[in-house]
């Protein structure tokens, strides 16, 4: 029984719950059993409140029995990247700094999911404070790629991607600042959606880079990503950057929107550094759309291609250096035992609490904002960011969506890039500009390398047109079976 549930989509599970074929308790037990069986090797989870999940499942079953089920997510377990607050649960950001921190409040997305009856199921590993592209920068050790345990799952939402890919939980939340949902989704062979900046509230998401961070959904299918997005999207008065937009029925839109579409292919996203197998798989996907009657246009994004990473690392680190100042060992978090004065509390607690990548970015961000360098670095980066956004706006005037690889490389070996931060940063080359422009982006499986590693196709949409973007993705998924392949664990 349990094994049959593992790789079913949330949409299928919802149907079975609704039909009374399974109970939420059975579903949670199946997930717990799977986690028990594989997570010792995958290490997707930082923690899991098993009793809490079972209690929530019981409550869901009781609601359903009373005819008060709250909708398709009622009784479905959802994993949380360990950067999103759930009241009474740990919120570690995979940092020693917050190793013992328990959140006294719920993020807005958490409140929304609880209201929908979803079951918060465990805390998922990540790069510390979402800084990284491999989940190796975790104070609790790296997560492994379920397709090849010697390789990284991508990052920073590596735990969220691996947990879905390994069948431990059908849906997870991630966060994406420069590709942190799409890149691990691609490397783990699942669907990862980063919504338009402002569509999903950031309240309760521990900030990395506030003007870029966005919570998004990770799932087996496009339909599942749409299902979860519908539950978490929408205006939030607690987040000043949250947009006052109507939330459409994304799942209905999937069925309704059929194309053909005008699709842009950014010329620069297929240049040097792109793994040939990935390039070939993505070109095949483009051919699929052409055969479906879509108009395929080559477009140019020269500024995004050339400067996005530089702009990103100036803006993101500047914001991070300020956002992470609150981790000081005073009100919560790690306080150094060696500290004898207040300065010691600061200097030593932060030295002991943060890992090397976090320290590196705090120092870089501090430099970028410091007296004498602000104009040359931070202000200039903000201006180039404007130009990059304008470039996307112009291109998307004539295109419904853009197609590109998600990552230039498939899952790399654990430890392979960790000594060279710049090389690691360059793996985000196709995803980062989407965050700079604030656009929605999705990665869907589009094949495998000869070595059996998943390949992701990135689709980039217009602001707040998640419905359109998901429909384009759905058209591909419906005609292919990549998403039905699973790693053997």
């Amino acid at each position: 029984m349990a094994d049959e549930l593992i790789y079913q989509s949330a949409t299928q599970l919802a149907a079975q719950l609704a039909a009374g074929k399974i109970s939420a308790v059975e579903l949670v037990q199946a997930c717990l059993a799977r986690r028990q069986a594989v997570d010792g090797r995958v290490k997707a989870f930082n923690s899991c409140d098993e009793a809490g999940a079972l209690a929530a499942a019981k409550a869901s079953d009781a609601r359903r029995a009373a005819g008060q089920a709250r909708g398709p997510l009622d009784g479905i377990p959802v994993g949380f990247k360990d950067v999103i607050a759930v009241e009474g649960q740990p919120l570690t950001c995979s940092s020693k700094m917050l190793a013992n921190f328990v959140s006294p409040y719920d993020a807005t997305v958490t409140l929304k999911l609880k209201a929908a009856g979803a079951i918060p199921f465990g805390r998922l590993n990540m790069d510390e404070f979402a800084m990284g592209s491999s989940t190796e920068n975790s104070a609790f050790g790296p997560t492994a790629n379920p397709w090849d345990l010697t390789r990284v799952p991508g990052g920073s939402s590596g735990g969220s991607a691996a947990a879905v890919a390994a069948g431990e939980v059908p849906l997870t939340l991630g966060s994406d600042t420069g590709g942190s949902i799409r890149q691990p989704a691609a490397l783990c062979g699942i669907v990862g959606l980063k919504p338009t900046y402002g569509l999903v509230s950031r309240y309760g998401l521990a900030a990395f880079a506030s003007s870029l961070d966005q919570i998004g959904t990770m799932a087996h299918t496009v339909g599942d990503a749409a299902l979860l997005l519908g539950a978490i999207a929408g205006h939030d008065p607690r987040d000043s950057t949250s947009f006052k937009a109507e939330v459409p029925d994304y799942r209905a839109a999937l069925a309704a929107k059929k194309g053909p579409w005008r699709l842009g292919v950014p010329r620069e996203f297929f240049g040097a550094g792109l793994d040939p197998e990935i390039g070939a798989a993505v070109k095949q996907a483009i051919e699929f759309y052409r055969k479906q009657g879509c108009e395929i246009k080559e477009v140019a994004l020269p500024l995004a291609a050339e400067y996005a990473i530089a702009v990103y690392y100036l803006i993101a680190t500047a914001e991070a250096s300020s956002n992470l100042a609150r981790y000081d060992g005073i009100r919560y978090g790690h306080r150094s035992k060696a500290a004898t004065d207040v300065a010691g509390v600061y200097f030593q607690s932060r030295a002991e609490g943060f890992g090397p990548e976090v320290k590196r970015r705090i120092i870089l961000g501090t430099h970028v904002l410091s007296s004498g360098y602000y104009d040359a670095y931070y202000l200039r980066a903000q201006k180039v960011r404007t130009l990059i956004r304008n470039e996307f706006t112009a291109v998307l005037r004539d295109c419904d969506a853009l197609l590109s690889p998600t990552s230039p490389v498939p899952a790399f070996k654990l430890g392979e890039k960790s000594a060279d931060p710049l090389a690691m940063y360059l793996t985000d080359i196709y995803t980062i500009s989407v965050n700079l422009a604030g656009l929605p982006g999705i990665s869907i499986p589009c094949g495998f390398t000869g070595g059996g590693l998943p390949i992701g196709l990135q689709l980039i949409g217009r602001p707040f047109d998640e419905a359109g973007l998901l429909a384009v993705a759905q058209a591909y998924e419906s005609a292919h079976d990549w998403h039905t392949k699973h790693p053997s664990l």
């Binding site: 950067v83 409040y105 900030a207 880079a209 607690r238 000043s240 000081d328 904002l369």
Partner: protein, 480 residues
Amino acid sequence: MNYEAVIGLEVHVQLKTASKMFTRVAAGYGQPENTLTDPVVLALPGALPVLNKEALDKIITAGLILDCAIAPVCKWDRKNYFYPDSPKNYQISQYDQPICVGGTVEIELPGPSRNVMGEHKKIPLTRIHLEEDVGKLNHGASDSLVDYNRAGTPLMEIVSEPAMHSADEAFAFLTALRTAMVQGGISDCDMEKGQLRCDANISIRPVGETKLGVKVELKNLNSISFVRDGIAHEIRRQVAVLGSGGTIVQETRDYDGQTGASQSLRSKEMAHDYRYFPDPDLMPVKVDEAWLAVIRPTLPERMFDRQRRYLEQFQLPYTLTSVLVPSLALGAFFEEAAKLSGKPQAAANWITNDLQRELAAAGVELAASKVRPAHIAGLVKLVESGVISSNIAKEVFVAMFATGEQADAIVERKGLKQSTDTGELEKWVTDAIAADPKAAAGFKGGNEKALNAIKGAVMKASKGKANPQLVDQIARKLLA
């Protein structure tokens, strides 16, 4: 050598709002420690700020009262520095685009005497911006305890130009500023509660020199008189240093109002580098004419404008106006009484003397006073029409204050009407002459003053009710 002092003030004023600047947990004073917090106040991971609209309305009100230009667009910046009372280790403030630019504070310097108006000046402001307050550190013997109740309270920073030249000017500036803020409903400005806090930048230079001298920042000036005393002390100190051939070092000094001495605060090991940058969590604010048009009608009349009006429109003496104008409520009370009575001066006298005295003695606020403007007007009318004497009126006022009864009712109930019954008056005068033949003889002998003894006896016998004019007439007739 003669020196001129140059003084600029930086004033922090807490805004009177129900909730905090960037979150809706209650703002307040005197609550149990750490009971006014939430994830935003404590800077918990994931918490985000959202502006308080009322704080914006209040700073715009302040800006309009002080003739500032209201910026069409202002934005929010992070000021990065570490301190245990600062939960985020950055303060959300306004750096290069504050909401209020320029403006002035009209001040009045002490006149030659209390009865004479002093010189007026307009002290220019640099800017006013909005930010958030920090928590409170309680220092113990071996450690410090932090209470975050105050953290996140809306705070307005008012920066003056270095345009004052004496401690008296600084004192007058703060007094006028506080009045404007209180009258605008912007803040209660209670310095004991930290609702108004002031730092002063002070330098001196030889008279005639235009370049500014080295400035010293004076901190912890926690009452308005300490500001005056501290600045005067610092000016004397700097003059003495330069006079003895020394040099002024740029530093921050702490003034102790109790001992009247200042000491240098441990100089910071490194210059500040606050790394200001636009807060990505907060959207800029656009202020359009429609918004200002909503606020303008709510602005109170400025204190000195009102004082000028009282002097001109009501012909009040300066001393009375200077009692009436510092309080909006008292001014409004007066204007109502003036209107109802038609006798502004008489009404002003009752209010500034008798009413103020009784309120102070009873420890009662004006708002709770049983004497309302109509009572004053009724009393003024009784005196003006000769129904009671001013002496009786004093007695009636005390009764009104105690009971809230109208003056005419008290006069009626106590039978205090002036007697104009000539038969009764003649009897009192006849008795008085009989009782004091010496005075009667004196008057007859040409001593005008001797009549006063007779009249006094009549007033006493009549318990003040005898009409003094009639008594005078009758006495002269009977002694003729």
